[in-house]
């Protein structure tokens, strides 16, 4: 498979400390790649290297098949928001967006205005960016990152400081651009439940190491999400479940069955068991959050 972004044993060392240690990620076109890790894990360092802000100590990366140092015009097809938004406080939002558009060669005056509307800052008017609230600055930073419809957008904690409505709006923007334009996103966030709503792939980093990289669908199955079923006749219930098409299940103790697939079929299960005269004492859907899975994984890594 061809990847739009690929890193190969990427390493970054600051003195004796390794901020990244042989990290190899694979981001396909159209992915919304969620980077998960605790503070200081190496997420921002990885993002900085991919965006050309920092030089790696070892390894390499490629974007659209071009290695670092040979990117040429491809470099301008990246948008970023890393750590704080890079904005000039003495200018208003429109001027900041216009400067970014000029930087990437866009002279159309409608583009900054379109971006301003997209990020919901049309009402800011001539207000200087230094007087913006944190959320407004964050929105402006996102707008700058999205200028020129880049093919790759790297967002480091994009929803920091945003109100709930702002979070929804940014999520909708990301989903829309991903769906309509095929824009590839790399997003890091500490709010894993929010990230889990949009991410299609995850990279979990801990202490500079990539400890896991998987598709969102695979992560869901690894999250030990399950349907917990308590019945009076477990053996008969298993036969009924097999006829319904369930195969990934386990009888954990007398009368208690755990099912690890098709979590949306609790209704079918109840009806089928009742039809066979099997009493269902309890049927509960337990979905382990990405957060719990991450904590469990990092906890194991620490051991």
């Amino acid at each position: 498979m061809e990847y739009i972004i690929e890193t190969e044993n990427l390493t970054k060392q600051y003195g004796k400390k390794k901020a990244l240690d042989n990290v190899s990620i694979h981001v396909a076109q159209g992915d919304i790649y969620g980077l998960i890790g605790r503070n200081g894990a190496g997420k921002t360092t990885l993002m900085k290297i991919i965006c050309g802000l920092s030089r790696q100590s070892g390894g390499s990366y490629s974007i659209f098949g071009k290695r670092d140092g040979e990117l040429g015009d491809i470099a301008s097809r990246r948008g970023l928001l890393i750590e704080s938004p890079g904005i000039f406080g003495e200018y208003d939002a429109l001027t900041n967006l216009t400067l970014k558009c000029r930087l990437i060669g866009i002279t159309d005056k409608e583009e900054p205005e379109r971006l301003l509307k997209m990020i919901g800052l049309e009402s800011a008017g001539k207000k200087k960016a230094k007087h913006f609230s944190l959320g407004m600055k964050q929105r402006l930073g996102i707008g700058i990152a999205l200028a020129g419809n880049p093919d790759i957008v790297v967002l480091d904690e994009p929803i920091n400081g945003l109100d709930p409505q702002g979070i929804i709006e940014i999520r909708d923007i990301i989903m829309r651009l991903n769906k309509e334009n095929g824009t590839t996103f790399i997003i890091s966030s500490h709010i894993l439940d929010e990230l889990s709503k949009i991410a299609t792939k995850y990279g979990i980093i801990n202490n500079g190491n990539l400890i896991e990289e998987c598709l969102a669908t695979d992560l869901n199955s690894r999250c030990e999400s399950r349907i917990e079923l308590v019945v009076d006749k477990a053996a008969a219930a298993v036969n009924v479940l097999e006829k319904l098409g369930f195969s990934d299940m386990k009888v954990v103790e007398d009368g208690k069955i755990h099912i690890f697939e098709q979590f949306d079929r609790t209704g079918d299960i109840s009806l089928a068991l009742a039809a066979e005269g099997i009493t269902v004492f309890e049927i509960v859907r337990k979905l382990e959050s990405v957060e719990n899975y991450y904590l469990r994984l990092v906890g194991k890594e620490s051991e």
Binding site: K48, C51, G52, L53, S54, G72, E83, P85, L99, I104
Partner: protein
């Protein structure tokens, strides 16, 4: 490169500080005109003397102002985090360095032009007319003014190199002022003279070289100072050009090796 230059120039023209120096010069001319409008004017002034007055101002003030403004613009990009947006869009960090120097050179050239025009205007206001009594010297003076402008650009390149190494705006401002007021080069000359009193490096430095442009002062047997024939003009141009290229290349190399943030 063109895109970055467009952005940098747009930012420059939106920066209020850029207009401060020309505004001060314009006010100087205006106040001079008001104060002498009712007074008696002096006789005619030779254009060579106008250049002489310009040379002093260009060396001390224009390079200092241009250098400080350049450092300010670079420092703002790091302070505001905007360098992330810039560094992300280029495939080579040296492009940013070259663009910075081009903008710095533009500032230096514009300020030099304004300085010359200001002195010329004041001279015109104070005198009954500007004449050319020694036309054979006019081109020499124009050449010297252009050389000073180039030296100013080389000073900005030197400070750019230091800025890329240390990323310190305070150091940049200090160095600019120390160079323009001849402290830095003076210290260098003294250090070299301590090592060997016969080594005279002043004529090979960016700002001090202008002390030798009309002749090389030497002490004769009686202790009197006489002027020897100066080095050919092209040596000044070559020296200044080499300084400029060396500093720019060094700055580019450093910028490629260091992280942008």
């Amino acid at each position: 490169m063109i895109r970055i230059l467009k952005m940098e120039f747009r930012r420059l023209f939106k920066t209020g500080c850029f207009y401060a120096f020309p505004a001060v010069l314009a006010i100087t001319v205006l106040t001079e005109w008001i104060s002498t409008s009712s007074g008696e004017k002096l006789g005619e002034m030779d254009i060579v003397d106008v250049f002489g007055a310009v040379f002093e101002v260009v060396l001390l003030m224009t390079i200092a102002v241009s250098g400080v403004l350049s450092v300010f613009l670079w420092a703002q990009e790091y302070k505001k985090g905007y360098i992330k947006n810039i560094a992300n869009t280029v495939s080579g960090r040296h492009i940013i360095t070259v663009a910075r120097l081009i903008v710095g050179a533009f500032i230096m050239i514009i300020n030099t032009v304004f300085t010359f025009l200001t002195v010329l205007c004041i001279a015109s206001i104070e005198h009954t007319g500007i004449v050319s009594k020694h036309p054979e010297l006019v081109m020499d003076n124009v050449s010297q003014l252009l050389l000073m402008c180039l030296s100013g650009i080389a000073v900005i390149a030197f400070v750019l190199m230091l800025f890329e190494i240390f990323r310190s705006s305070a150091l940049g401002y200090t160095m600019i002022l120390m160079i323009c007021f001849n402290f830095l080069e003076g210290i260098l000359c003294n250090i070299v003279a301590l090592i060997n009193p016969n080594w005279e490096i002043g004529r090979h430095l960016l700002i001090s070289q202008f002390n030798y442009i009309n002749g090389i002062p030497v002490f004769d047997a009686s202790g009197e100072i006489t002027l020897q024939a100066p080095d050919p003009m092209w040596t000044f141009w070559l020296r200044t050009g080499i300084y400029l290229i060396v500093f720019l290349v060094a700055a580019s190399i450093v910028s490629k090796k260091k992280d942008a943030v």
